[in-house]
Subunit: 203 residues, 2 copies
DNA sequence: TGATGAGTTCAACGCTAGATGAATTCCGCG
DNA sequence: CGCGGAATTCATCTAGCGTTGAACTCATCA
């Protein structure tokens, strides 16, 4: 008995279905709480297969991230254009991305960063420092203020993610993207371009 | 050998040192990632002692929370007073609380809520719905807007916590509380009292 | 003195996790 | 046909978790 099945010719896309399941699991539960075993279960696959394809859990996570997120393209793109609505465009873009299927990967990074140290570094050092700060620099008048202003922007954007996708606070979680963008955009705009208290550039 | 030590008369405060270690661990790692064993280790105590005193991990967490946080008092108190600076007072109070030693417990709830479902419910249904929304209602002109406005406020406040205490984004993480309050307060103020787009009260 | 009970420790159970290595099946190529 | 290697499964290892129960020590009090 115990018929070991070996290769099943139809499933060439096993690897892809593992990736899909992993993306979903990481987005819903974060890096630590998404287990290889549950991912394998969702993909209807033996846990050892996951290791066969991706080696380690970290590598699986990185493989999931190498999808289509490219904040390095999206953020500057959102900030380009009329300076006065940059804030609203940024918020709208962010929500648009996360609500889309492709955004699942982005949500996975974020959720993971909240409870796992090395993914937090990933987010902090890549997305915020490299991408956001650079893009913001081109918009801000006083270069000394760029770092602090991007921090502030990050505050508001991260807050949306936490409230809407992690804590699922109502009525925000069910609100329309346009409503949110209209409500929050101006605040981000202020962080980006409005004059700020003087104490500001200290350090 | 293996001299079992039994009662050590000096340590009557063992219970307190467990509580301290637990508060710290929950604040730094969240509910799931803070293990009873590591808490016991930090308190230089046998893991079984933790159960002896607190029963279960959930009860230990609740014991940690029964400290001096009382947002039910603090939030209304911050929102009372001149309507025009309510936002700034709220931000300043929030940061003040979390930066204080007593705020470790609050940070523990928040961090835990980010990765654990039942603590998330705790935060959502108690702090946000019961406390924040009620307090905001008294400040908002149109009562239909209260829920959405508190969601928005929660966004910004949660964003500060995530960026400053969880992700530790610089320069925000090291910034002075007054600077942050001055920079972010007006945005919270807008969420509280400024006119908002019309689409707003829908649902 | 002797009993009580709180403080404390140790060992173990059952569970889940990530990871590994051997065994099996079968496609495709020579 | 025969063979190599990829795909797949199973059994297992190690490590950590929360929790339990029994054992031991000792201060206190009748």
């Amino acid at each position: 008995m115990a018929r070991r099945s070996g290769r099943r010719p139809g499933n060439q896309d096993t690897r892809e279905s593992i990736l899909d399941a992993a993306r979903l699991a990481f987005a819903e539960k974060g890096y630590d709480n998404a287990s290889i075993r549950s991912i394998a279960g969702a993909a209807q696959v033996d846990p050892a297969l996951v290791h066969h394809y991706f080696g380690t859990k970290e590598k699986l996570f990185l493989a999931v991230m190498n999808a289509p997120i490219n904040p390095a393209e999206l953020v500057p793109q959102a900030l380009a254009g009329p300076r006065e609505q940059a804030g609203e465009r940024l918020v709208r873009m962010a929500i648009g991305v996360w609500d889309s299927p492709a955004g699942t990967a982005a949500l996975a990074v974020f959720r993971s960063a909240l409870s796992n140290e090395w993914t937090a570094r990933l987010l902090r050092e890549f997305v915020v420092t490299q991408v956001l700060r650079r893009a913001v620099s081109e918009l801000v008048l006083d270069p000394d203020e760029a770092a602090m202003r991007s921090s502030l922007v990050a505050t508001q954007i991260a807050g949306i993610m936490v409230a809407r996708y992690v804590l699922k606070l109502e009525p925000l979680a069910s609100a329309d993207a346009d409503v949110i963008a209209a409500a929050i955009g101006p605040n981000v705009q202020r962080f980006l371009t409005e004059p700020m208290p003087e104490v500001f550039k200290a350090d």
